[in-house]
Amino acid sequence: VSTRLQAERVVVIDDDHAMRLSCKQILARMGFDVELFDNGANGLDGVARLKPVLVVVDLKMPGIGGMDVVARVHEMDPEAVILVITGYATIDTAVEAMKAGAYDFLPKPFSPDELRVIVNRSLERRSLLREARQLREDQEQLRRRFVTFVSHQLQSPLSAVHQYLDVLKRLSATSASEAQRAEWLERCLTRTDELQELIRDWLTLARVEGGSFVRTSEPVDLRAVIADLPERYGDRAAAQQVTIRVQSPPDPCPVLADRKALDVLVDNLIVNAIKYNRPQGTVVVSLACHGNEIRLAVADTGVGIPESQREFLFNEFFRVQSDATRTLPGTGLGLAICKRIASELGATIEVESREGEGTTFSVALPLVTPGNDAALAGAAVEDRE
């Protein structure tokens, strides 16, 4: 039983009558709109005309061979999913078909279940690839038009506030009610806060990149950095019905770092962990030693980050695109700042996420031990000043 909104089109190209019909039966039951062709030339015309999402091609056919059909379909529509079926299955033909643009390969004879599994798997992969491509294009466009984008981000709140004030001035003597006026003034304050936050983040990012943000490198016990987080972020967390817990080991966790930069890094991670959490969720900040490094982890119990979007997380202005997070405010710069600070501190930052369960960001910092002083010297920053 299909849950597809609109029947997606499938083209089957096979010279074997019985095979065409059984493919049609299986695919039609999956909810596809199936068109059959008995040779390569007609099949290619059909593909050009029908623009199917999926093309099933038999490799051994008279006339235009299956391999050429695969290559031509792939050329016409690189996103069409091409499945190859054949009775003469060898590794070589499979590899050749994949090179020509096929997604997968199904040796005859096959069961209806085998076809179903392979079709679903291929279409799933197609939508993942599509999504990733769209995101990449989006990020690429952002890079190309960076100045335009930044100025848009800066001007939007300013325009909104100006517009409110302009309209308020005009309507003040007449129809705008007290309640409406109060609401608009409140919105003006929210938008100016948003603008200030953006400018602050933008400056922080610029200073980290310019090398003037991480200034000192002194021994810091990470336990001290995280100890008072539940108290410092308690109000903010309570407003979202989120609880913050800290797990510190009994022994010191010494690293060489700039305390202020560390605080900014942790601040960004914890603010995100609260913001992208669920009501009654938790944020756990923990420290653990692994060999020569200390791992500071901030784990939330939120909606998680779709896998296809994770590679862009640390890009400037990237924000996770989902219905759950669409309306949440944010500059899109927090994680870019974290990444740059981590790199200045000689640390690495990683993300692990499960959709619907939560996300964990962990920062691995070099541990201060007599053994790795050399590594620390590499991360030190005094020589910059």
Partner: protein, 124 residues
């Protein structure tokens, strides 16, 4: 009185502009993105459409305007493009009859209330 459709993902901008228009006796509809805007325009046939350019998908406004123009019954509806980024988009400042977007005018955010009211009033 005109029926005005505002397509803008900035709720604050839409709220203030719609209050201004309502105060002057116009009837205002609001859509939060291009998809919603096209559907509303097709159903409601507004007298004039205000459309933002940089919405959620960043280029969404371009596609929205093109789609509006291709929608039966909306081919000639006046479209006022509103944005805060026109410096880098020369085709917006070109005379509208030469622009491939076929919009009717370009207004920079924030919009001067008098200019907006005049343009909405004059739109036919």
């Amino acid at each position: 009185m005109k029926k005005v459709l505002i397509i803008d993902d900035d709720a604050d901008f839409a709220a203030s502009v719609s209050a201004l228009l309502q105060h002057s006796g116009h009837y205002v509809l609001r859509a939060r993105d291009g998809t919603e805007g096209v559907a509303m325009a097709a159903a409601e046939k507004p007298d004039v459409i205000l459309c933002d350019v940089m919405m959620r998908e960043r280029t969404e406004g371009f596609f929205t305007i093109q789609t509006l123009r291709r929608t039966p019954g909306l081919e000639d509806t006046p479209i006022l493009v509103i944005s805060s980024i026109y410096e880098t988009l020369p085709f917006f400042t070109a005379p509208p009859e030469r622009s491939w977007l076929h919009h009717d005018a370009f207004l920079r955010k924030p919009i001067n209330p008098d200019t907006l009211l005049e343009m909405v009033q004059a739109a036919t």
